[in-house]
Amino acid sequence: MKKIGMAIALSLSMVLPAMADTYPSRPITWIVPFAAGGITDLTSRKIAEVLTEKLGQSVIVENKPGAGGFVGTKEASLAPADGYTVVYGSSGPLSISPALDPSKVTYDPVKDFDWVHGITASPQIIVASTNMPFNTIEELVDYAKENPGKINFGSPGNGTAQHLGGELLKKAAGIDMVHVPYKAGATQMVDLASGVIDLSFEYASVVAPYVEEGKMKVIGTTGTARSPKFPDAKTVVEAGFPDAVNVGWTIVGVPAGTPAEIKQKLNEVLGEAMADERIVKMLEANAQGRLENVDATNGNEYVAKEIEKYRALGVSAQ
């Protein structure tokens, strides 16, 4: 064993200086801070597959779930800054939690990472129980003003992008609604379908089966553009509440201090991968948008701005 260790150390010392030119010369680990089988995991695996082809080296997805993404993101921040560990970051652990509950976050989402390429950006669909009298965002706001504090909105947990979707609309429209947190998205949808809660801000792929069966109705979207899946639903911008725009996003990054050439290389291949037909089709099928115009030059700036946006909301995680 010792001999092998020595051999590895020796070969590493020879490889390191020349690393940037030959990158990647060994498999890359792609950390997903969420459990296998979820949407972040599935998206990651598909992109990793395309990257493996483009880089000529295996990109291995490793799930490090726990504490809403904290565990995996923290782990990635501690990895060597050599480009062989990349992390699939997302708005929850990178912007919402650092803004709302900074004491829990043990890494700095801006200083500990170099973000290299934006991946997805998905607005939430605003869905309501069929018992509710309103059918559009404007009607919802009017109803909420007439009945302050009467409306309940569900979310898959405190400090999730879906929870913030509701909080942002509350603030932008000056209405009062009560947040009812759940442990998982599925239970929340079932409760909305049977009228236990009134409203929810959820992703298109989650609400679609219920909407198709007529168990809930779509009244709007938190995006800047209409959802291709529900083109009749107005955006919060159209309804006159541009401050209620809320998008759950994902971004790929490396630990801070990674050589610039490596970041440039990753930025390039990720750009190619995002244009790949397989990725385009997958995003369409999952009703996910893409995080455009975020790359190695402005990634950290984007994350910092998002943190500011949520901090300005002035809510703590209840």
Binding site: A36, G37, V71, G157, A184, T187, D191, S194
Partner: protein, 499 residues
Amino acid sequence: MELLDHIALGLSVALTFENLAYAFVGCLLGTLIGVLPGLGPLATISMLLPLTYSLQPEAALIMLAGIYYGAQYGGSTTAIIVNLPGESSAVVTALDGYQLARQGKAGLALATAALSSFFAGTVAAIFIAFLAKPLAQVAFQFGPAEYFAMMVVGLILATVLSNARMIESIAMVVFGILLSCIGTDITSGDERFTFGATKLFDGLDFVVMAMAVFGFAEIIKNLSEEDQGKNLGTARITRLMPRWAEIKAMFGPAARGTAIGSILGVLPGGGAAIGSFASYAVEKKVAKDPELFGRGHLAGVAGPEAANNAASQTSFIPLLTLGMPSNAVMALMVGAMMIHDITPGPRVMETNPSLFWGLIASMWVGNLMLVILNLPLVGIWVRLLSVPYKLLYPAIMLLCCIGAFSLKNDVFEIYLCAIMCLAGYIVVALGLPAAPLLLGFILGPMLEENLRRALLISRGDFSVLFSSWISLGFYAVAIVSIIAMTAPSIRTKREVLEE
């Protein structure tokens, strides 16, 4: 007819190649651990939970259920041939089964056990299918307040169903609830008992808890006892197929056993073992020749075997229709469902019809497999008894550590397993009941979550908890259970005083 549609849906799920394969694996494993004394379905299911993460929920539950009722078959095999009941429910089978075997009728006893079990399994599956419909109609009236009331009943029953002293089971339930409080509070988002450790934010993993408390602790306890039952005289297996007259003789007891088992299985705290004891008692009463019981009476095998199999299947009814576990194995099933984000409860039938009906159909398919597995292959199972535990157990524990690691790709879970294993061993070694601990751990958070959600929606108005007939019904059951629980202890105390 709607029922036929449902059964067709169920069969279409159960008969896919994948699900058939998992049913087979479940039945095989179930038979295996049924044969081996010491390792029960509880330990096995808890240790296999990590494996089910990557499976479809249907496949996962089909396999786990297969282990449970497969164990009933396996347990009776060794009970008959070597007088070594592999399962507590097979204790009764050993009484007459082994005597039959000694008279050279081992084949007949085995066939009786398997056929009665198959008969009971078939009837029980139909019974579940019929009962499902009326219960499903109540499902839509279930909100957080009703779930809360149901959890109150569940926690009270968790103490009733353990046969330990009441004070001990209450203590274990409370201990379980306390352990479940570790982690992020859903309603407020605050951390509880994590001491700032990020890895504890999600709380203790249910799988780790189950594996450590039921799996590891049980194994350590078994290892500390001496190997028993080795080198027992093995009866020779003779003619397997029963004669027509014998089939007729076993039909009555099997039918009665099925009825008794089906009813006792539905009742919380019931289950396979009680069913078989009750059936044996009944058969002894109705038989024309009660003096033959204990000396190799066919009815003494047919009745209890039918009862334990029927009960093990109907105990899925409260789980699938209400989400209420009636025993510790069913509590593990709740956990297995929650792993897949399925909230056990009356809505499962509506939201996951393929899971519900697929599981029921697979029970019947599984029973058929078990008959085939157990009768011709009986020799192989008996030979398994000669594998020394000192080889078997370390192998199992190694596999479990891999399972624990694979939960989150993190060695932390293995450490957690070790710590909980120690705690579990202390619990087992002190003779405290482990099942209420796990039930408290599972039901406690559901109780809290639903109570707080109900109050959040009602803006703090407590009367919402008593506003529906369903809730009131549950509270009534809770009160009756408390009275029933305290009454016998009052009685025994009085008896002690009188003496």
